[in-house]
């Protein structure tokens, strides 16, 4: 379990996995570069033991190298992410992120994830770049989607959008839903959310935060959420542990995308 210390989720997943009899190692993200790991095309080992499952609960753009010199951090982080990208997608490992290395590098960029979800059943809100949506009219009626944040902000001015060609959408403030192992955690969520959960899972995202507009259309995805709500964390931990030990409820999601299916 690779943990983000801000979220209680890692500890809860570890407890659930131990209930299944698993030998669980919890690693702080900042210590990941120093974890003893060996990988070949056939096997992955951690601390000398075979590694079967990984719960990846961290933002890939954060640092993995707390104990390294500042001048080495950029290189060490890049090497560590490269290694763990291979582990997360290794045929012998079942992991909570199998959405491709490009997704690890693009992070929360909605234009990227929007392309990944295009052509599926999940309705997607239109996305505008570079001020066309707001135009010279009323920029406060639209929302700015910073490429790297997966959350909306009101547009300060049309100049902001023109400055960066920023993405934006028009409509009501967004609604957040966490999807885990193909299921929305919010029992009151909109119609169609079950499809969205399955499609995120089929895309290789076992846990993700989805933002939808008032019409139920997706406007952003956070593939690396750090939930803090205790009830949601408990439910997420149960579903993630079930997924990692091979629960059968998710298998049918991968019929269209077998490359992203877990081993």
């Amino acid at each position: 379990v690779i943990q983000d210390a801000r979220s209680p989720l890692a500890g809860l997943i570890a407890d659930e996995l131990r209930r299944y009899g698993a030998n669980v190692v919890v690693v702080d993200q900042g210590q990941l570069a120093q974890e003893p790991v060996t990988i070949s095309s056939e096997r992955v080992s951690l601390r000398g033991d075979p590694l079967d499952c990984v719960a990846w609960l961290v933002d890939p753009s954060s640092t993995y190298s707390d104990s390294f010199r500042a001048s080495d951090v950029a290189f060490v982080d890049s090497e560590t992410l490269a290694l763990w990208a291979a582990i997360l997608h290794h045929p012998s490992v079942r992991s909570t992120y199998r959405a491709g290395i490009a997704g690890l590098i693009e992070g929360r960029a909605w234009p990227y994830w929007r392309r990944e979800l295009t052509g599926r059943l999940t309705p997607l809100a239109p996305l505008h770049f570079g001020g066309r949506a707001g135009g010279p009219g009323n920029p406060m009626k639209i929302f700015w989607l910073p490429y790297s944040h997966a959350k909306t902000e009101t547009v300060a001015s049309a100049a902001v959008m023109n400055l960066l060609g920023a993405a934006a959408y028009c409509g009501a403030p967004p609604v957040e839903t966490i999807y885990v192992a193909g299921q929305p955690l919010d029992s009151n969520c909109r119609a169609g959310a079950a499809n969205t959960g399955k499609e995120l899972l089929a895309a290789g995202l076992v846990m993700a935060l989805g933002l939808a507009d008032g019409g139920g259309r997706m406007i952003a995805v956070d593939p690396f959420p750090a939930p803090v709500d205790e009830g949601k964390c408990k439910e997420a931990a149960r579903l993630l542990a079930d997924f990692l030990v091979g629960g059968s409820r998710v298998a049918s999601c991968f019929t269209d995308n077998p490359e992203r299916a877990p081993p």
């Binding site: 290694l83 997608h89 505008h128």
Partner: protein, 304 residues
């Protein structure tokens, strides 16, 4: 025909290809990342992305009028706004700017050499080597580890020795494994790739939309000709047809139009694939051998 050259306006390969394009009669527009939002910008909508516009130099250029885009980003793009912001704000600006340009490229309804986020397996060598193996290439045996004992044991089982490589896309010299490396691992170095050394000569195979351009590189000093190849001899080489086909299939599977695959050819004529580079600088190979790689790239744009 309008061609846009996107990314690092000072990159040698980008400058070279843009001049070739201008000489061939294309209307060349260089969209320098460092000048984005200052000298040029774009507007588009996902609903009708092909109807977007690029605003550049007093012109409003419809996406539909663009025949192709050639892309080479700088790993450390600067620019006036970036410099003024500095610190974490500058970092955020740079990330937003890069994502914005990616969004632009995804909207363009023309061939992109190469599309953003494609070929990213090269950023994780262990992942890419497994994909290359699955695609039917012979890949030298390897492990990735930070365990000094694993590294030494693996190396001991390689008759010609083992080399050490970086894991990510960082440009780093390939070297023979030695006691100094093992000592670094013992002291807490991040993992490295340890790979069976193949004795022989190097071949760079460029794939451009199904066409293959192979260059052999023979050198007598060091392991990595990119670093210690002074005096290396570059020559046109005939790659086996099935290897070119396999390389082209891998290139397309990665979503690329242009790629540079690196091989070692041993004394028995066996080809070992080392990696597939999604942003190859073909310039030294074209300059040394006269192979028309740049012309092949421009052909991709003029044939659409």
């Amino acid at each position: 025909l309008i061609l846009v050259f996107v990314g690092d306006g000072d990159d040698l390969t980008l400058v070279y290809l843009s001049r070739c394009a201008a000489a061939a009669g294309f209307d060349v527009i260089v969209l320098d990342e460092a000048h984005f939002s200052v000298d040029w910008r774009f507007e588009a909508s996902s609903e009708i992305s092909a109807d977007g516009l690029i605003h550049f130099g007093g012109r409003s250029i419809p996406f539909r009028s663009i025949a192709g885009a050639y892309v080479r980003f700088s790993p450390t793009p600067g620019g006036l706004v970036f410099d003024q912001l500095g610190g974490s704000a500058g970092g955020l600006y740079a990330r937003e700017r890069r994502h914005a340009i990616h969004a632009l490229l995804w909207c363009l309804p023309c061939p992109i050499v190469n599309p953003p986020s494609c070929g990213m397996s090269n950023a994780s060598k262990p992942l890419q080597m497994r994909l290359l193996q699955e695609a039917g290439f012979r890949v030298p045996r390897w492990i990735a580890t930070n365990d000094p004992k694993e590294a030494k044991d693996f190396s001991a089982n390689c008759p010609a020795g083992a080399v050490v490589k970086a894991m990510s896309g960082y440009r780093a010299e390939v070297q023979l494994i030695d006691e100094a490396l093992v000592s670094r691992l013992r002291n807490g170095s991040p993992p490295v790739i340890v790979q069976e050394r193949i004795e022989g000569f190097d071949v760079r195979l460029h794939i451009v939309a199904q066409r293959g351009f192979a260059t052999s590189i023979r050198h007598s000093r060091g392991i990595d000709y990119r670093w210690s190849g002074e005096g290396a001899v570059y020559e046109c080489f005939q790659a086996p047809d099935d290897l070119v086909r396999r390389s082209d299939a891998f290139t397309r599977r990665e979503g690329l139009i242009l790629s540079g695959l690196d091989f070692k050819v041993d004394a028995g004529g066996e080809w070992y694939c080392l990696e597939c580079n999604p942003v190859p600088t073909f310039l030294p190979y074209e300059a040394a051998t006269g192979q028309a790689i740049s012309t092949a790239i421009l052909d991709v744009f003029s044939s659409t």
